[in-house]
Symmetry: C2
Subunit: 239 residues, 2 copies
């Protein structure tokens, strides 16, 4: 039986498509990202990707067994790009804040990939590099191993979770997204104080707050609490 997908190293024959394009895992991932960036997340389908590449859709299955695997590869490439653009300063709190915001922004830019990759472990090179980097920031910042791992875990999961959540909103059809804004304005903005006193009292704040992602706030709360714990640990060990 011929294996459908051959690992990249084992690929020898580089047969061009009818339109003269030489396919590769890299080219496919790059083109997928370009498609997403140019025409939105919903523009990415196997068939469109094939068309954009100048290849039959079914050819892609020689490189990725399922669409899922393609998305994981896209996700890992995203992690890589985010990491490459990041410039650590040596201040753990500032560095983590910067990295978190970058990852979140990256997720929003590629909603479908973010949604898929949030709950998957790719085990690919860039992901591994990210784990090593973040753990390094925390341990170099003075966190003991157990605490460093705990903060790492919540930091990463929170970033991925918010990334996926906010991505999902972004990926909504325009019509639905406008409907949501309308709901906040008309429904929540007009609840009477008699039946819903708390919403009525805070309505202006509420409408303003709901226009943005709460990820930055969540990130700051996390970093604040982490710093408090670091101070506690240092106090105990007499640092």
């Amino acid at each position: 039986m011929t294996e459908r997908v051959v690992p990249p190293d084992a690929r020898r024959r580089r047969r061009p498509t009818k339109q003269g394009v030489v396919l590769s895992e890299e080219l496919i991932v790059e083109t997928a990202l370009r498609l997403i960036e140019e025409h939105g997340a919903e523009a990415l389908s196997v068939r469109r990707l094939g068309r954009a590449l100048g290849a039959d859709p079914s050819s892609l299955y020689r490189y990725f067994r399922r669409t899922d695997d393609l998305m994981l590869a896209v996700a890992d490439e995203l992690i890589g790009r985010t990491l490459r653009a990041w410039r650590p300063t040596g201040d753990w709190r500032a560095d983590l804040r910067d990295l978190g915001l970058s990852m979140h922004a990256g997720a929003l830019a590629h909603p479908r990939a973010a949604t898929l990759s949030a709950y998957r472990v790719t085990g690919r090179v860039h992901e591994i590099q990210a784990v090593e980097t973040i753990l390094g920031v925390l341990r170099d910042g003075g966190f003991p191993d157990a605490e460093a791992v705990r903060i790492y875990h919540t930091f990463v999961d929170q970033t991925l979770a918010f990334g996926a959540l906010d991505s999902a909103s972004v990926a909504l059809p325009d019509q639905a997204r406008e409907a949501e804004a309308e709901v906040w304005r008309t429904t929540y903005g007009r609840l009477p104080a008699t039946t819903h006193p708390h919403v009525a009292a805070t309505a202006p704040h509420l409408l303003e707050s709901m226009r943005h992602s709460s990820y930055p706030a969540a990130l700051d709360l996390l970093l604040e609490a982490a710093e408090a714990r670091l101070a506690a640990v240092r106090g105990r060990t007499g640092g």
Copy 2:
């Protein structure tokens, strides 16, 4: 022009389908939830839902203009179910912790449905009730309006985001979930200290931590930081 969707109150003629079922908004939502719980979120499509109901798929468009509207109705029903099981005590921190953990547990109990509802604003009764309730807990706890809204927003989003994230893991096919565990054990558990010193140094903690959800930790960090801010506010106003 005949309106495609008639509001529930205006419905008079209850004509049964060919297979003898009398449709209604309620029946459709209930059946959708049943389908999701039994066969997963991806099993919910207009056509399958029609089949499960014993009706032509196009009939559903007499009740919901788009699939989206149906999803919102499903989401609100879920919020209602979760909220009904919660018992507040009057201590804001304990109550929020309890509510957060309940919502998270509820999400895990209905993984496929949770994934659907996490990122939508329904503007329906149960959701409104939830907003009012949580804001009440915070304001009664002493938070000024702006701060209450900020904490509310991060609390809700964090809970929904982690609920969706952890649900997605739970909903993975067994094969895929085992593969992920394998990646942690073999790939991350065996990285050499020469190339990945931080991962190698913390590997035991890492493998242990990754077995559980980080939501409780994230929630505690959030509540801790919130309490610190409340104390700061009270100090300023001389409470």
